[in-house]
Symmetry: C2
Subunit: 305 residues, 2 copies
Amino acid sequence: MSDGTIELVVVGSVGLDTIETPHESREDILGGSASFACAAASFFTRVGMVGVVGSDFPDPCSALFEAFRIDREGLQVEEGKTFRWSGVYEQNMDHRSTRSTDLNVFADFSPELPPSYCAAPFLFLANIGPGLQLHVLDQAEQARFVVADTMDLWIDVARDELTQVIRRVDMLTVNESEARHYTGRHNLVAAAADLLALGPKYVLIKKGEHGSILFSEQGTFVMPAFPLETVTDPTGAGDSFAGGFMGALASLGDVCEAGLRQSLVYGNILASFGVGAFSLEGFQALDRAGIEDRVGLFRSMIHVP
Amino acid sequence: MSDGTIELVVVGSVGLDTIETPHESREDILGGSASFACAAASFFTRVGMVGVVGSDFPDPCSALFEAFRIDREGLQVEEGKTFRWSGVYEQNMDHRSTRSTDLNVFADFSPELPPSYCAAPFLFLANIGPGLQLHVLDQAEQARFVVADTMDLWIDVARDELTQVIRRVDMLTVNESEARHYTGRHNLVAAAADLLALGPKYVLIKKGEHGSILFSEQGTFVMPAFPLETVTDPTGAGDSFAGGFMGALASLGDVCEAGLRQSLVYGNILASFGVGAFSLEGFQALDRAGIEDRVGLFRSMIHVP
């Protein structure tokens, strides 16, 4: 973060979420995959955000991005309303259902990388349509390490394009149900093998509160989640994880097995802070020392002498 | 295992299981919590089995116990039929339902420790009625480290006795749903805190394929499960885990934080072998070198440089 060079580009959604949990509800709070990923990454590296907001995007939200020193040259502002999502979490936060999705300006979004982003070595394609992800890949041929996320919807409606994305990225991140849905295999080891066979060097399967597993030809890295007594809002957990991971990896500058594992621990810990509050509030009072404290605690929790 | 001194006593059920899985079915195969726990423990220490079988108990099953060098002075043989359980695993092995439970000679079981067992330093009270577990505790006052398992049934029908058991043991092992059911708390960190408040030094919450978490006043140890591509029969996984853990701990002879964690890894690995085949077949071709190989692989899978 010593200069303005963009080390990591994040492409995804920026939106306003209305969220109901068993304990508390919030209306029109800052959300979207790019928001969570960029904020989490910002603790480690200089990150550029590619997305779109409407002319109604609240100034305090822009100010928050500024506070995180997120570069917003790639954030388009279009006449109209910002993307909105509304959802409700059931009793135990284990399941959520979507109440409404209003794409608004996101409906015509075409992600364009400013010239200063095209040389960034790290690229995170958060969950957007695989056609848009392919369009970004065409612009980011200099990226050294590209990670793509996706969701069930795209497996259903854009499977062929999604397969092209998987073939072209270095790492695919999916949750358990997505891995099963795409491959038709219930066992995650078998599902990961099918996904690796398509070409990516790494497949990260996310299991929420149960942790994650990184699969590659070189071996398997199994990481539990940081055990939390209170989860306030799980929205964006996967994006915070990916952002923290990519930010930490970009700050190392090199992609080796040790660096990947260390960076996944950072992703894990950023996600644990993210779900402790609504929107980006879990990151607002956080600093690098707070992150390192929890990383140290987590390392002691998984250590086998 | 250099001499005949019993280091670990296991009290539990010995039975004949009829099991249907989506791929294969088996009839009247050796099962029961004590069978799995004793076999897993036998790789590490001299174990004595306390349980009951009927006069119909098949000779090959007795021969198998002998092959594992399990001491059976505490195994009562009563006139009548052996305990039988029948269950079916659904599509993805995630859920099972019980078809029938015939207690037979187990209905009048009263666990009695032979004099040579009373001085054993390690005791595992596998899942039997908490009243019987209390009866064993009265006979095993010299035991240095006692672990008790339980099940939902006892939380419903014998909660007060179960609470007495929890107060008197060093470690309670429960699965996620049991921890939630007993405490009324969905969050496992909160549930474990409630259970620890009753008196045990350790609470181990088992999450099946998602691993386990050991809670204590000293801290938390989070361990993922060994990722398996094939699970043939999950029956007895928790007992294999507990048996492997207690056997390894007994072979160390000392209960320290490092030893607990190392022994939990052995439990984890024994469970992974156990679910790879029906009954005790996963242990029959296994030797200590095979265990150490997988322990080494597992350690490499969870290592963060």
